[in-house]
């Protein structure tokens, strides 16, 4: 059988995301002995980011990338990390945490199964810092700066920095940085290179925002349950191996980008007193975002103390 995989990512992106997906597809064919394969529909040609969960749930595609931060209300539990910025986990640790939570709290998987979805694997993003037009040494330098914001946690955090959150789409951010419509954008090195933001903003501030989550490699539940046991076992194992493969690719990419920054791209990497950022966690606005998640978790019947503890510095 040929399974379909839908992703918003263009094939030509040639980043850890697209290359690891390519690897996933090849491994699947290899490990099932050529009995099954996966056809990928790249570049959102079948479903845009916002359409993917519905498209997967109703079988438009068998598998696909769900960009979870787009759906805080649809997948509140699986978005835990997004509500807790900053948090101390690295990219690997975030993926590990997701696996652990799915194992320990059935509600995490239920949230997906109730929408006819099944998680094959998790793709966490790299650790984020702040890419700026000017050098930033401490929190006082950020007062009054315009900072690109998106999602649900950054606006409150940026306000706590006494800076101005400016909501921008990913594709607008390049131009906004270039034209100083914003001064800074939270992002990691590999993504900054991928979106070419580092062409127009030359200071990378090591603010410890933590790694973002990320994408769920999800599957239509019926397609998953319709697999024979052997194939399902192959897929389950592949999902675990995928995280290792992806983590290696992502790390290699970050190393390469940081070399490029030192060399021809000329991006200066600056340290930042991390305690100035973690101090902001006590801000009422930031706390309100976290409380919102906790109330959603309570509604879902999750006792979240251990989860929250993991996300504390």
């Amino acid at each position: 059988k040929t399974y379909t995989y839908i992703t918003y990512k263009p094939q030509g992106a040639n980043d850890a995301h697209s290359r690891s997906l390519q690897w996933f597809v090849e491994e699947f064919a290899k490990r099932t002995g050529g009995k099954h394969d996966i056809e990928v529909f790249w570049g959102g040609s079948v479903a845009a980011v916002g359409e993917t969960p519905e498209a997967l749930a109703y079988g438009v595609g068998d598998m696909g990338d769900i960009v979870t931060p787009y759906f805080p209300d649809q997948f509140p539990l699986n978005n835990a990390i997004g509500f807790f910025i900053p948090q101390p986990l690295s990219s690997d640790a975030v993926a590990e945490a997701m696996v652990e939570w799915h194992r320990d709290y059935p509600q995490f998987a239920d949230e997906l199964t109730s929408q006819n979805l099944h998680a094959i694997s998790f793709r966490s993003l790299e650790g984020y810092g702040l890419l700026c037009k000017q050098p930033i040494a401490s929190m006082t330098d950020l007062a009054g700066k315009r900072i690109r914001s998106y999602g649900f946690a950054y606006p409150a955090l940026i306000e706590a920095m006494k800076a101005i959150p400016v909501s921008l789409t990913t594709s607008d951010t390049y131009e906004a940085l270039e034209r100083s419509i914003v001064d800074c954008a939270p992002i990691g090195p590999a993504l900054a290179r991928g979106f070419k933001y580092d062409e127009v903003a030359k200071y990378y501030i090591e603010m410890p925002f933590g790694a973002s989550f990320g994408h769920i490699l999800a599957m239509n539940l019926d397609s998953y349950q319709g697999m024979d046991d052997e194939t399902r076992a192959v897929l389950d194992q592949l999902g675990i191996d995928y995280m290792v493969e992806y983590a290696a690719m992502l790390e290699a990419e970050e190393v390469k980008v940081r070399e490029l920054w030192q060399g021809e791209l000329g991006v200066t990497v600056l340290p930042f007193p991390g305690e100035e950022l973690t101090a902001l966690i006590d801000d009422t606005g930031v706390q309100a975002v976290r409380a919102e998640w906790e109330s959603k978790a309570t509604d879902a019947g999750v006792s979240f103390d251990d989860i929250v503890a993991k996300l504390r510095f």
């Binding site: 519905e54 805080p72 209300d73 649809q74 009054g144 315009r146 914001s149 998106y150 999602g151 649900f152 606006p155 101005i164 959150p165 400016v166 909501s167 921008l168 419509i181």
Partner: protein
């Protein structure tokens, strides 16, 4: 036949009210975006939620005007072949074409309604510099497509009984 015309015109009036709302939203969108530019250069600040409001306004603008566009016959169609057919045949084809429109948008309105209900159930919010619930916009999208479905049905009925629809006014065509 006269009462059918009355119904069509009365319905068109309702669509025009929706259109005014969409027009006001367009004007508001222009104002907010300009205010944001001015705020940036004059006061080094920004209008909170300028982007979120612009995003939220566009579905309203589009879907509250779709049916009005059909009422004025502004959706593009090609008539060079059908113009050369016998009148009854071209009339029958046009009725079918209009019913096809009703099928598509009836289906889409129902699908959109399901999506709006889901949004309401999970309390979906737009989260940015400002926050607002998304479900009213999703219901408006579904409502707009339902309006268009009804317009297609009315027009199909009009053509079936031999009432001429007004021709497309070229000024309304992009």
């Amino acid at each position: 036949m006269n009462s059918l015309l009355t119904v069509r015109l009365a319905y068109g009036q309702l669509l025009t009210y929706c259109g005014w709302f969409a027009g006001a939203a367009t004007f508001a969108m222009m104002t907010i975006v300009v205010a944001n530019v001015v705020a940036r250069y004059a006061f080094n600040s920004s209008v909170p939620g300028a982007m979120e409001l612009t995003e939220g306004a566009l579905p309203l603008i589009i879907f509250l005007s779709l049916a009005l566009t059909q009422f004025h016959g502004g959706h593009i169609r090609v008539s060079m072949l059908t113009d050369r057919l016998p009148r009854t045949l071209s009339q029958a084809l046009l009725v079918l074409a209009l019913l096809a429109g009703a099928v598509l948008f009836g289906w889409a309105a129902w699908a959109g309604w399901l999506s709006a209900e889901k949004s309401l159930a999970i309390g979906e919010m737009k989260r940015g510099s400002i926050r607002y619930p998304v479900w009213p916009i999703k219901f408006a999208v579904s409502f707009g497509m339902a309006l268009l479905t009804v317009q297609f049905l009315i027009d199909a009925l009009c053509v079936a009984v031999g009432m001429p629809l007004q021709d497309a006014d070229p000024e309304e065509v992009e």
